[in-house]
């Protein structure tokens, strides 16, 4: 017999016989009607779990990870305000249902059943995934990547204080909101979760406001691996900057009382708290998981004997809030009701085509209030003495600094965060003076944790800011990449465009720093960014382009709600000369703030027809050198700067190579998985001319004199071009 059926039968039999598990008497501030509302939410959650299994057996449902045993989360919902953003654990159906009861007109049963059925009418994901979530209920959807939602909860909590100072046009959280984030005892051990706890503590320790309530739902087991007895209390009981609360999630009165205390602490002190909520897990991890294969029958039955619904009936009856026979009637009525609704929900349409599925990959545009930009006086005050040099030729790092200054002047919702971006002004000086110009609350020096930097950005973006996080070196992105891949990029997708986290992620990267740093400061792979659906990757090659592209990236984030990665070639930051010492050929003037390079527009230098060199980043610089040398040998080449590596500007590239008799692709990323693979494939599909490529080798980059040995050079480009001419 399925454990779900055993638990159900036990409930019916034990309530009818008034055979309740032992426990404390009801105590605390929970009102009788609120207690019954919590019990109703719990019954609905339980009925949905049972129905989801029946739907799966019938081939009509597609998800069976349940919330049974965690119904006490309904009491936590009741202790919070419905405007408190909640990043929920996947076992929190009862929380969402209880919160739904706080908003008039929600149809919680229908909505949840549509999501089990993967109906296109599922109001949160549009049938893309069974996720908890609701725009009306301020619950952004979370997928099942373990604990990866914690860093952004930290960011969202931070945003509340930040919005008190500079409230963004698209802010959605009230000033007195808190952020709630829940997870299981097993995922509390995940390094991502630990990073988020640490960041919250680090922030709070400095008395920076962070109204964040962590809720650890401790059911004592992660799939089949038990959490050591007492571990959660032992490791979280006394952490710096994060107050610990413990409650019994099997007792709705206790859970409500303690959650209320914890929420009050977080809201009034604006400090993080850790609510340790005892729960149990009924029927195993998911539908296909049979707990008796790794737990003894006695252990399973001992847990089942403490079904929180049984405790709830005992407590409600004892408190005089609801007689046990009425509680039983609510349970059975709810089951019958859910069966009727499910029969209708499974008839609703589902997604069919790739187009259907992909419709929410790119979020909807949002209107932004028009701005005339900063006044000349404000600009003069911000730029200071720099204004005198603004018409001079400058290297890319300086131009970027000015572009950032103008963007931050024009858009008060822009906030930057990263390691050393504030006081120091960045390792390469790109963000110099910005902290003095805009204050440390818009130029946030973070702790040393890339997951936290990206989580801060994602969370702030969800409250209307336009974050521009910086990852100090491309190689440092990889430990945190899931924050973009699994979280930022998927949010519009899984919320059907209802929640977004637009941002411009600046990363300093690529190779060619002369002898400095080796691989970890010269990473030359972008594959990890390029294959994320919906994410834009921009790589400028010179200062003027960088400014104009960065403006477009900020527009894409602010107005089109896109997640954009802006990869800045470190070696080109200080580059001044192109062909000869002191020729100043790679410096540019700062383009007027109105000038923009739109997404998908490529750069073309020269109109030679012998050869088109298609490249980007450092490759553009090196190809320009090669172009001159080739001209000396009578070969007329044009250099095409792709600029946008994802999505590739295929149509613009096709147009740009027209008339060229040969195409040479120059790619500083690796041979395997590098950009050239996509460019070769594209030109093979659209062009009949001879194609060749020169790429970096499949190697890490060395430090010292061989720093550029594995990558294309002006010489190797010239040689490859001449080879094609033979």
């Amino acid at each position: 017999m399925d454990r779900a059926d055993i638990v159900h039968e036990n409930f019916l039999r034990r309530v009818a016989g008034r055979d309740f598990p032992a426990g404390r008497a009801p105590a605390g501030p929970l009102a009788a009607t609120d207690a019954v509302a919590i019990y109703r939410a719990a019954c609905l959650s339980r009925a949905l779990d049972r129905t989801s299994r029946a739907m799966q057996r019938a081939g009509q449902g597609f998800y069976t990870i349940g919330s049974s045993g965690h119904e006490g989360m309904a009491a936590v919902a009741a202790a919070l305000r419905p405007s408190d953003m909640a990043f929920l654990h996947y076992r929190d159906a009862a929380f969402q249902i209880a919160r739904g009861g706080q908003f008039p007109g929600q149809t919680m049963a229908w909505d949840m059943l549509l999501s089990f059925a993967a109906s296109a009418e599922d109001p949160i994901s549009g049938g893309r995934h069974k996720v908890l979530g609701s725009r009306a209920l301020m619950i952004p959807p979370q997928t099942s990547t373990i604990a990866s939602h914690l860093p952004k909860a930290v960011g969202a909590a931070y945003s509340i204080g930040a919005a008190r100072r500079h409230r963004p046009e698209h802010a959605i959280l009230p000033d007195d909101a808190l952020v709630m984030c829940s997870f299981g005892d097993a995922s509390a051990n995940h390094s991502t979760a630990q990073g988020a706890f640490n960041t919250a503590q680090w922030t709070s320790y400095q008395a920076v406001p962070l109204p964040l309530l962590f809720v650890c739902e401790d059911n004592g087991i992660g799939i089949s691996t038990k959490t050591p007895k007492g571990w959660i209390a032992a490791t979280f009981g006394a952490r710096a900057g994060m107050k610990y609360f413990a409650a019994d999630g099997l007792d709705i009165y206790d859970a409500y009382k303690v959650a209320l205390e914890a929420a009050d602490y977080v809201r009034t002190r604006r400090k993080p708290a850790f609510l340790h909520l005892r729960t149990i897990r009924l029927y195993g991890h998911a539908g296909a998981d049979v707990p008796t294969t790794y737990l003894s029958r006695d252990e399973v039955e001992a847990e089942e004997a403490h079904d929180p619904l049984l405790h709830a009936v005992r407590l409600l009856d004892s408190a005089g809030a609801l007689p046990a026979d009425q509680a039983l009637a609510i349970y059975t009525d709810t089951n019958a009701r859910i069966s009727r609704i499910a029969a209708e929900a499974v008839t609703r349409p589902r997604l069919k085509t790739a187009k259907d599925v992909m419709a929410s990959l790119i979020p909807p545009a949002r209107p932004c209030k028009p701005s005339n930009g900063p006044t000349p006086e404000a600009r003069a005050a911000a730029f200071g003495a720099d204004l005198k040099q603004i018409d001079d030729l400058q290297p890319m790092s300086r131009i970027l600094n000015w572009a950032l200054t103008d963007l931050m002047l024009a858009h008060p919702d822009i906030v930057m965060m990263g390691e050393d971006v504030g006081r120091k002004g960045g390792v390469y000086g790109v963000t110099q003076k910005l902290s003095a110009r805009f204050g440390p609350d818009r130029m946030i020096d973070t702790l040393l944790d890339e997951q936290s930097i990206l989580g801060l950005a994602i969370g702030m973006a969800q409250n209307g800011f336009t974050p521009m996080p910086e990852i100090q070196f491309l190689a440092y992105l990889h430990n945190a990449e899931d924050q973009i891949r699994g979280e930022a990029a998927t949010l519009p997708f899984f919320s059907n465009g209802q929640f977004t986290n637009p941002m411009v992620l600046r990363i300093a990267g690529l190779g060619y720093q002369k002898g400095f740093g080796g691989h970890f400061h010269n990473d030359n792979s972008v594959a990890v960014i390029r294959d994320i659906p919906g994410v834009i990757l921009a790589v400028p090659s010179n200062g003027a382009d960088a400014a104009k592209m960065l403006r477009e990236c900020v527009r894409l984030a602010r107005e089109e709600q896109r997640v954009v990665v802006f990869l800045e070639p470190i070696a080109l930051y200080p580059m001044r000369d192109l062909h000869a010492d002191k020729d100043g050929g790679w410096m540019t003037r700062y383009p007027d703030p109105s000038e923009v390079i739109p997404l998908g527009q490529v750069g073309v230098q020269g109109d030679g027809t012998d050869l088109a060199i298609v490249t980007f980043g450092n490759g553009t610089y090196l190809s320009r050198q090669a172009q001159a040398r080739l001209a000396e040998q009578g070969v007329q080449a044009r250099v095409i700067d792709t600029r946008w590596l994802s999505p590739l500007p295929k149509d613009a590239l096709t147009v740009a190579v027209q008339g060229a008799k040969r195409i040479l692709i120059v790619d500083e990323t690796r041979h395997s998985g590098g950009v050239a693979e996509a460019l070769m494939a594209h030109f093979h599909e659209v062009s009949g001319v001879p194609l060749a490529r020169i790429t970096a080798t499949d190697s890490f980059i060395a430090t010292g004199p061989a720093y550029a040995a594995t990558m294309p050079s002006a010489d190797s480009i010239t040689t490859a071009a001449l080879e094609m001419m033979k």
Binding site: V36, A37, T107, A109, W110, A321, R337, E344, T347
Partner: protein, 340 residues
């Protein structure tokens, strides 16, 4: 036993053909006598006298202080007469909310009468503004959300003019009930084309219900009617926002506050109430109690707008009704027989 959501009709449903309905159907003579006694004590004509009048008079029978009590009694009588169905929730339209409160047990029959009679009398004595009815679906009931938006834009434009008051009063299936002052209503009537031979239709003796115009009525109602009249419902109640008030889980002070606050002064979303009824209770039947038969169309249109059971048009609905009735109007003798 079939499950059913019961829907209580609002003002305008006790019409000429309903004359005598209480004497024909009301199942509890003692209760009716109590209502009559209460009205007599207030110096009002009794329900029995009104119901047994020799002829129907618009000025007499549609007045708020008379119509409300008549409709309430006819509704409650029908509800008490139901047999062979399991009522899983109760809802209502506009004034029908007061009836729904009584059917669901949140108000006793007597307290329900007190509330409805008081509010009907206050509406009549204040008589602020009026109502006009206009459809945004055609005669085939095909949903036309764009037309709805156009009409509401027009309403907003007119309402913004100096001296004009106009706003949404009730989302009534495929129709909009608008409320406003005379200038606002007249401007709307002049701005829209006549359709279906009867719209725009001004509703006689109706005030500008469910808008801010009724704030004085709400205040008077709150002064006259104590929260202590309200108790726990014994059936789920769906209000004019589509919110559900559950037995044992209802904050009765909040229920009083909604009933004599938001419900009086904010738009009433009957369509959403029916949508909630369908989606959260999935009943076998939607039963519209008497008096009258006019609310059935709005229920059917609301179900079509909610794409319930694949219904997309009037023809779909009629086909379904012929095969296996989804909607029972107790004001129709043949349908009434299915549930009493």
């Amino acid at each position: 036993m079939k499950t059913a959501v019961v829907i209580c009709p609002g003002r305008g449903t006790y019409t000429k053909t309903e004359l005598g309905v209480l004497s024909r159907h009301f199942p509890d003579a003692g209760l009716l006598a109590a209502f009559d006694a209460r009205r007599a004590a207030l110096g009002q004509e009794t329900l029995t006298a009104l119901d047994s009048a020799s002829s129907y008079s618009v000025s007499r029978h549609t007045r708020g202080d008379n119509a409300s009590g008549l409709i309430y009694a006819a509704t409650l009588g029908d509800f008490l007469s139901l047999k062979g169905v399991q009522v899983v929730a109760v809802t209502g339209n506009s004034m029908g909310w007061y009836s729904a409160l009584a059917c669901a047990g949140a108000l006793t029959p007597h307290n329900g009468f007190e509330v409805v009679n008081t509010m009907g009398t206050l509406m009549q004595s204040h008589m602020i503004g009026g109502q006009v009815l206009y459809p945004f679906v055609d005669e085939e009931w095909l949903p036309n959300p764009r037309r709805r938006v156009e009409l509401l834009d027009l309403v907003a434009q007119i309402g913004a003019r100096a001296g004009h008051v106009l706003g949404l009063s009730i989302d009534l299936g495929g129709m909009l009930v608008l409320a406003g002052n005379e200038a606002g209503l007249a401007a709307f009537e002049a701005a829209v084309p006549p359709v279906q031979g009867r719209f725009p239709m001004r509703l006689a003796n109706h005030a500008g219900f469910h808008t801010g115009l009724q704030a004085p009525v709400a205040a008077a109602g709150r002064a006259a009617l104590s929260p202590a009249l309200f108790g726990q419902p014994n059936l789920p109640l769906i209000d004019g926002r589509g919110a559900i008030w559950w037995p044992y889980a209802t904050d009765t002070a909040a229920l009083w506050d909604y009933t004599l606050g938001h419900q009086v002064t904010e738009p009433y979303d009957f369509t959403r109430a029916i949508r909630t009824a369908a989606r959260e209770f999935a009943p076998d039947l939607f039963i519209v109690t008497g008096p009258g038969t006019t609310l059935g169309g709005a229920v059917a249109q609301s179900l079509i707008l909610s794409e319930w059971k694949g219904l997309a048009s009037k023809a779909d609905f009629q086909t379904r009704q012929a095969a296996d009735p989804l909607l029972v109007s107790m004001g129709m003798a043949d349908q009434r027989g299915l549930v009493v």
